[in-house]
């Protein structure tokens, strides 16, 4: 626990240092030298979440393969250790100067559009036309790399979904029928109350809330609720943010019930940024939690070589799609994100960079990464591969909800609006605001962030 905090703070510190450099206009590295200007060096920046993490392994492998095939080329790997947010900031800072901008980098799908606006990403259309494998990528995943101008700027590595992960031991002890398939929010509360009654020391059903867990709060909790109501977060047709929605209030009220009745973790625990590690590493394996909304990547923590190895997870855990509020169509809801590889707009070697990208994305390398990282496959020849299908017991279940999944509205205002939503959940679970008050605060914050012209009253 301390270890990760340490890395995230260390990287925050380097961010600040980098920030100072930007603020003072002293760009590190200063022209030429070993930067992108060197014809035979490719700089690769990616996020490293620990020794031997799947992405790190992928990059090491590709470096070896690529250098073997291109004798004059040196691949310089520059992993960044830190949280998603710290990584995004660090990457953006390095992209502000052509001298420090990487050639190939790991890019979050929801940052693609705003980073294209910023001029950081290279238009890949001319390259993709001549890449035969591109046809094998599914259309939904391809869309994640498309910017407002219709061109593709990033190639997806994989995608993910969110479902309910429940502990069968806990549910069975409470007399809840397994396999569990809640049809409405009330079904979830009923089962949670049943668990509370039979096992007072167990956390019945956790959903993240508050700013501590950051994007996890909205992706693995709040949006599952909101997108399962009749309301929206963002009106795609009008390209405006929705305010004054009943669904927003209802979603907050659901979280309030969960926390007030002590069906979830305590508010203090919920605000701990590292609480997800306790959920994966302690609560679920020790039969101390009934269920949690988490990502399709959950098995990557439990399988062999994962952060919290747990041999029995396949037998003990079960998954269920998250239901809509009253069981309305389509009956279930999920959220998807995912990461891509992209090429720097100022890369001196775009051809070599693209070759590196396609090496990382070939069937063999991407298959290994998809399996190691418990990703949902984006290439058809991986989705059908038996290694992938048998990689963990839940591949079919978590892939099914792709039909009902949603993507975040990836505008450049999004991060701030997401924080406003996280703050609303925090105010409600700590009892500072009622759901109605917190929703009104959120509406005011959204109007402030995007301007009154860019919101639509529901």
């Amino acid at each position: 626990m301390r270890g990760t905090r340490n890395t995230s703070v260390k990287s925050s510190l380097s961010l600040i240092a980098a920030g100072l450099l930007v603020l003072t206009g002293c760009s590190a590295g200063g022209g030429g030298g070993a930067g992108a200007g060197d014809d035979s060096t490719l700089r690769i920046v990616y996020q490293k979440s620990g020794e031997g993490s799947p992405l790190d392994t992928l990059m090491q492998d590709v470096k070896t393969q690529f250098e073997a095939g291109n004798e004059n080329v040196t691949v310089q790997l520059e992993p960044v250790e830190g949280s998603d947010e710290d990584y995004a900031t660090r990457l953006a800072l390095s992209q502000r100067s052509p001298d420090t901008a990487p050639d190939v980098f790991y890019e979050d799908t929801f940052k693609v559009r705003s980073d294209v606006d910023a001029g950081y990403l290279l238009n890949l259309d001319p390259y993709l036309e001549e890449w035969p494998d591109w046809e094998r990528f599914n259309d939904g995943a391809k869309a994640a790399g498309v910017a407002d101008d219709g061109a593709t700027y990033a190639v997806p590595l994989g995608t993910d979904t969110r479902v309910i992960w429940y502990n069968k031991n806990v549910l069975e002890a409470a007399g809840v029928e397994v396999p569990w398939a809640p049809k409405t929010w009330d079904d979830i509360l009923a089962a949670a109350r049943q668990i509370k009654e039979s096992q007072p020391d167990v956390v019945p059903f956790n959903m993240y809330a508050g700013t501590g867990t950051g994007e996890g709060t909205v992706m693995q909790s709040f949006y599952e609720l909101l997108y399962g109501t009749d309301s929206q977060l963002y009106n795609e047709d009008q390209q405006k943010w929705v305010v004054g929605s009943q669904g927003f209030v209802d979603s907050l009220a659901f979280l309030k019930t969960l926390y007030d009745e002590e069906l979830a973790l305590t508010p203090a625990q919920a605000l701990d940024p590292n609480i997800w590690q306790a959920v994966f590493g302690e609560y679920l394996p020790e039969d101390r939690m009934g269920g949690v909304v988490e990502g399709s990547y959950s098995p990557s923590f439990w399988q062999e070589g994962g952060m919290f190895e747990w041999a029995e997870y396949g037998d003990v855990m079960g998954v269920a799609p998250f239901p809509t509020q009253n069981g309305q169509e389509p009956g279930a809801v999920s959220m998807s994100g995912g990461w891509t590889l992209a090429i720097g707009a100022n890369s001196q070697n775009p051809d070599l960079a693209f070759e590196f990208l396609t090496t990382a994305m070939n069937q063999e390398n991407l298959l290994k990464y998809t399996v190691d990282n418990s990703q949902i496959a984006v290439r058809s020849d991986i989705a059908d591969d038996p290694t992938y299908l048998e990689s963990n017991p839940f591949v079919a279940d978590v892939s099914e909800v792709v039909d009902v999944t949603h993507y975040r509205p990836a505008t450049s205002d999004y991060p701030e609006i997401s924080t406003a939503a996280q703050q609303a959940t925090e105010a409600v679970i700590t009892g500072e605001r009622t759901p109605e008050e917190a929703a009104a605060d959120y509406d005011a914050a959204v109007r402030d962030i995007v301007g009154a012209d860019n919101v639509v009253e529901e």
């Binding site: 502000r96 910023a118 203090a268 450049s412």
Partner: protein, 310 residues
């Protein structure tokens, strides 16, 4: 003209006799020449960043999105937004509270107290106390921050200690985040004040204090009428230094609470970081930094006044 140069005889021979006027400018240049590197360094490393941040605070520069590519000059808009921002008064108040409670009151008084006691203590005790106090200060800020986090957090040392005497655990970082970071900053920074005051007290002549004692002045009176006035300058200098240091404390707070919960410990440095790096609004974050410079300047002016008073 010649009088001008002759007042500085030591430079006379070097300025070239005969050409009075050019000789004088030459002298000035020569005098300034050795200072040039220092002035250049001051300009680049001290004035430069400040000027650049002030300029940055007038733009809508961003980390990503359209404004990253093409930042616009927007005048005072960031400042207007800042004064309308509902989070700003809270952060400002928390910053002032943090500086006042942890630096001006906590570090300063505790440092002075420790220094006075150590003056009276035996060498062995003074050495032990000195090592304990200075240890917290010698630790890198990040390490000190983790130590403080491990001390205050839910299952941390403090709650383990209180549990042994039967006191129910308190979630310090959640229920009293400001108190926790203030105490942590006092713990970390007291050594600095203590060392400043130790040095100052060593310069107070023993005779004055002794003669006051003969006149019948007690310990408290001597402290108030003799010692404190004599170390007044050190007090002002110390206050200025610890105020500016504390105003800029970021790592300690970010590690312990990250400004939470619900912004209840979000001081201005945390707010500036959030705006600049989390929400990508570099221009806006810089405006907050400039406001912090101004707050530091206000404190400094007060202390300089204090220093000048007779």
């Amino acid at each position: 003209m010649t009088a001008g140069t002759s007042t500085r005889p030591e430079l006379g021979p070097g300025t070239g006799p005969g050409h009075g006027n050019s000789g004088r400018t030459g002298a000035l240049w020569l005098k300034l020449l050795p200072l040039a590197p220092a002035i250049a360094l001051l300009g680049i490393f001290l004035a430069g960043p400040i000027i650049f941040s002030v300029y940055g605070s007038f733009t809508n520069a961003a980390l990503t999105g359209k404004n990253a590519k093409d930042p616009q000059f927007i005048g005072f808009e960031n400042y207007a937004d800042l004064f309308r921002d509902p989070n700003f008064p809270q952060s400002l108040w928390l910053t002032v509270l943090f500086v006042f409670a942890s630096a001006i009151v906590g570090q300063n008084l505790l440092g002075l107290g420790t220094a006075l006691l150590m003056n009276k203590a035996t060498k062995a005790i003074a050495a032990v106390v000195g090592v304990c106090v200075v240890a917290a200060w010698v630790l890198p800020e990040i390490v000190a921050a983790f130590v403080a986090y491990a001390f205050f957090f839910r299952e941390g040392t403090l709650n383990q200690l209180t549990a042994t005497v039967g006191i129910a655990p308190v979630d310090w970082l959640f229920e009293h985040p400001m108190l926790a970071i203030i105490l942590a900053n006092i713990w970390r920074g007291t050594a600095f004040s203590m060392m400043v005051y130790q040095a100052a007290l060593n310069d107070v002549p023993q005779e004055i204090s002794e003669s006051a004692m003969i006149d019948g002045a007690g310990g408290a009176l001597r402290l108030w009428y003799i010692t404190l006035p004599m170390i007044r300058r050190s007090i002002a200098t110390n206050l200025m230094l610890i105020t500016l240091q504390t105003l800029a404390v970021f790592t300690l707070i970010y590690v312990m609470t990250a400004g939470g919960p619900s912004r209840r410990s979000a001081t201005l440095p945390v707010m500036a970081y959030e705006e600049a790096f989390r929400y990508s609004n570099i221009g806006y974050g810089t405006a907050i930094a400039v406001v912090m410079i101004l707050i530091g300047a206000v404190f400094s002016v007060v202390y300089i006044r204090l220093l000048k008073e007779k």
